[in-house]
């Protein structure tokens, strides 16, 4: 029998007395699975345990049947692509050189690695920035480079840790389209996010983590109903905050607007989908350099779910 792409058995991880993950049993195979939870829920801990970057305190992880706490685990990365939550940090490199280095580490000869790097840059729409140094890029651009390194070798399992953070609306849409496409192609994608809307846009299968525990699995509609009653904040970095705010108010897309200073604009909305669609044209016009969807109340939403007994 073919082992699943990812299998966690009784997976625990403590940091001193702090519980990062507690007794997680999970199997993931085929398609996109959203890993949803507020900050500190254990999403990044799970990603690091799955990739062998951290060792479990108890239990184990298998990726394509190979234990990730044993020697020789590096072999499995021929089939896995990982976009960490951490920034790229190889800032002295140009985009193409960074990807070429990683392609060589993946097994390519330098010439083939360069061609593969170019193909990955094209896939994420960054081909014109191939010669740009990473430290001269915006966070959103580096996020796309991060995604490009993930798909260098067309992996069967993709682990994406908050891949949309800091991206402008146009590229968020583009990346979400890519993720859905990978899922349709039969790849397994574990898509971690603290933003319900992002997860909902790419899949209806979710794993909910809260305080290191598995809260629920595969019941997105129920969460949706609870979440719909709560406003969400959208933070924009823009040269035209007042114009955008005025038009959003006029179109009745926002419940509240604030200008925290500088080029920042914060919009509160209960119609997130419509608002993001509305904002896309500003992104295409170059008015918006970064966009973050915050769900500051996800923690309380999850606490409410615990109270209401929404468990798997």
């Amino acid at each position: 029998m073919t082992p699943p792409a990812l299998r966690c058995v009784g997976l625990c991880r403590w940091y001193g007395e702090v519980q990062g993950l507690s007794g997680l049993d999970l199997e993931v195979e085929g398609g996109v699975v959203g890993l949803l939870g507020p900050n500190g829920a254990g999403k990044s801990t799970l990603m690091r345990l799955v990739t062998g970057l951290a060792r479990p305190s108890r239990g184990f992880v298998e990726v394509f049947g190979r234990r990730m706490d044993r020697p020789g685990r590096h072999e499995v990365f021929r089939r896995v692509g990982y976009a960490p939550g951490e920034d790229v940090h190889f800032e002295t490199e140009r985009a193409r050189d960074f990807l070429t280095i990683l392609a060589v580490l993946g097994g390519d000869a330098p010439g083939a690695a360069r061609r593969r790097a170019d193909a990955a840059l094209e896939l994420v729409g960054m081909e014109e920035f191939a010669a740009k140094r990473l430290d001269a890029m915006s966070k959103g651009m580096r996020q796309r480079i991060k995604l490009a390194q993930t798909v260098l070798f067309e992996p069967e399992l993709l682990l994406l840790d908050e891949p949309l953070n800091g991206m402008d609306p146009v590229n968020r849409r583009r990346v979400m389209d890519l993720v859905r496409e990978w899922g349709r192609e039969g790849r397994t994608v574990l898509f971690a996010s603290h933003v319900l809307h992002e997860v909902e846009a790419v899949t209806d299968r979710v794993v909910l983590l809260h305080q290191g525990r598995l809260l629920a699995e595969g019941r997105l509609e129920e969460i949706r109903e609870i979440a719909d009653e709560r406003p969400r904040r959208v933070e924009l970095d823009t040269d035209h905050p007042r114009e955008i705010a005025a038009e959003a108010l006029e179109a009745d897309l926002v419940d509240g607007v604030s200008f925290p200073g500088g080029d920042l604009l914060v919009l509160e909305t209960r119609s997130l989908d419509r608002l993001l669609t509305h904002l896309e044209r500003y992104g295409e016009g170059g008015w918006i350099s970064a966009l973050e969807v915050e769900e500051a109340d996800l923690e309380s939403l999850f606490a409410m779910m615990v109270d209401e007994g929404v468990t798997r």
């Binding site: 951290a54 590096h74 960490p84 951490e86 940090h89 050189d97 060589v104 580490l105 330098p110």
Partner: protein, 255 residues
């Protein structure tokens, strides 16, 4: 494991070292021995520079430049990747961790060797210009070779400390300055436990430096031979790399 992996990572590591402020700091340190020679030439009364080079510049490179330039260059090589979590980009490839670490180490060593070359050759070239003749280049080359071997050994230990501890700088001061330079110049047999003892062995043979370094340090009655010194320094480098590799297999990458 393919040589291209080592090559691309060494290239990245070298570019990163050369492009950072630490490299400029290390070069500034390496300029001090030359500065000492220039000041002696400018303000000294009828001094011969070649004996000054052997008696003062050589020990300055040995006991001051080597430990501090090595710390500046080698401590952050992997340490900063661990601190930022960016080492995860390398460790999630189908390449063993030790190969990634070795590539990064080799590139940073190349940067360190450049710094040490500047420290050894710049004063020698100045001396050769104002005081032609003599064995300037032979001694400078001997000094550089000895320092480079010392850099290999201490560099590998710095690599280990960078992965092992967030307070790597304190541990490096202890290992390179106290255990290395200070213990290595103590009288008696205790010094043979220090890597600097073997560095001195090389300098003694390759640079014809007197035991006492003009009274700066106590004399050594029987300095170790070249072969033994080279083997000890290479073994120390291998141990440092081995420890780093073993630790990297076990240590968590920071969040």
């Amino acid at each position: 494991m393919r040589s291209s992996v080592l090559r691309v990572l060494a290239g990245h590591s070298l570019r990163r070292r050369l492009g950072g402020w630490r490299f400029l700091g290390a070069l500034a340190l390496a300029a001090l021995p030359g500065l000492q020679l220039i000041l002696t030439w400018r303000f000294g009364d009828d001094v011969e520079l070649f004996p000054i080079y052997r008696s003062y510049v050589v020990p300055l490179c040995l006991y001051f430049l080597t430990p501090f330039a090595t710390m500046l260059t080698m401590l952050p090589v992997v340490g900063e990747l661990y601190e930022s979590g960016a080492v995860g980009y390398l460790y999630t490839r189908p390449t063993p961790r030790w190969a990634s670490l070795l590539g990064l180490y080799l590139g940073a060593e190349a940067a360190l060797v450049l710094v040490l070359a500047f420290g050894a050759f710049a004063p020698a070239l100045f001396g050769l210009t104002v005081e032609p003749g003599g064995d300037w280049l032979r001694v400078a080359f001997g000094l550089w070779a000895a320092l480079a071997l010392g850099g290999l050994a201490y560099g590998a230990l710095c690599l280990f400390l960078g992965v092992w501890s967030r307070r790597a700088i304190l541990w490096a001061l202890f290992v390179l300055v106290f255990w290395g330079a200070a213990l290595g110049s103590l009288p008696g047999s205790l010094r043979s436990w220090s890597l600097h003892h073997y560095l001195f062995g090389l300098v003694r043979h390759w640079c014809d430096v007197e035991d006492a370094f003009s009274g700066m340090f106590p004399p050594i009655d029987s300095p170790p031979g070249v072969l033994r010194s080279v083997l000890v320094l290479l073994a120390a480098a291998a141990v440092g790399l081995g420890l780093t590799s073993a630790l990297a297999e076990r240590k968590d990458v920071a969040a």
